[in-house]
Assembly symmetry: C2
Homo-oligomer: 167 residues x 2
Amino acid sequence: MEFAEAKNKFIQTWGALGSQWGINKTMAQIHALLMVSSEPLSMEDVMDELRISRGNASMNLRALMDWGIVYKEYKSGERKEFFTAEKDLDELAVKIAKERSKREIKPALKVLKDVSSINPATSLETKHFVEQTKNLYDFVLKADNMIDKVTEIKDNWIGRLVMKIMR
Amino acid sequence: MEFAEAKNKFIQTWGALGSQWGINKTMAQIHALLMVSSEPLSMEDVMDELRISRGNASMNLRALMDWGIVYKEYKSGERKEFFTAEKDLDELAVKIAKERSKREIKPALKVLKDVSSINPATSLETKHFVEQTKNLYDFVLKADNMIDKVTEIKDNWIGRLVMKIMR
DNA sequence: TTAAACTTTCATTTTTTACTGAAACTTTAA
DNA sequence: TTAAAGTTTCAGTAAAAAATGAAAGTTTAA
């Protein structure tokens, strides 16, 4: 396998993985492309490499920047804007996790809290419902907190120790 | 808010959360419904509660069973099949994580390994590509392994200790 | 101050994904 | 056996999500 083929395969795979996890395919592909580019790319470059329209490129680059995992760069003497991806993978993971927590998990938690707060005295059915949703609330909250904790892991000795034990 | 409204809200929210994470909405809704049902439900029950067709119910119940998070039950004297959800949330999380690892992450890892194995001697561009995809391979592998480790956490003292520290 | 270079927006179209419903299939009780 | 009760399959349809492209908007160098 030579370079062009490998690169393409990587971009396609990363795009597919994105879709499976609820991230728009093109967004994941642009990110993949920028990840493996040694130089910042212009919007034109992205359009050409992925064969996508200007609008699509613009919207997805914007989304990636909103997520904080792609940055705009300016080259002196050039009028165009260029883009690079966050390449530190720990940083990348933390940003994605935080963003998804904020956008998706936190709102779901609020609903869980609300629905688990109804009066359980009415029926056996209701009792069971309240119990289950309470458990779920606790569980999701715990999982969500873990994201914050993982963020801090590198900053404390026990975290690093644990990471070693976990290999 | 009374029971019926809360239940519906819960099912809708769980369905939406599912979609955002790449799990078909109806599948997530059925799972939500079964989670908060104190009794096993028949396919008819599911169809009626969620207003979905027989085919849809059948296919998604099957998918949930393939994932190992919904079980078939038989009531004595009844010909119909009934369904219950895995209600132990730790167990649920482990099963989902393992399944997604198997279906999505493992195949992606294979690709990452392949594409990062091309000969990097050709150009600077290629060198950078190989380096980045190698890093990504290591990172994803580490993350994937963590799933296995988390599975075992409850079985060893240091795991439990860590969980406590993490709250 | 303006026009060329570039970016964003969004109504429309395309693609992808999910759902329906009826026919085929399976199981079981009589 | 067989027919009633129940389940699965899948071709066709509907709904949802993403992409296009042209017009509107913005920036900048002269």
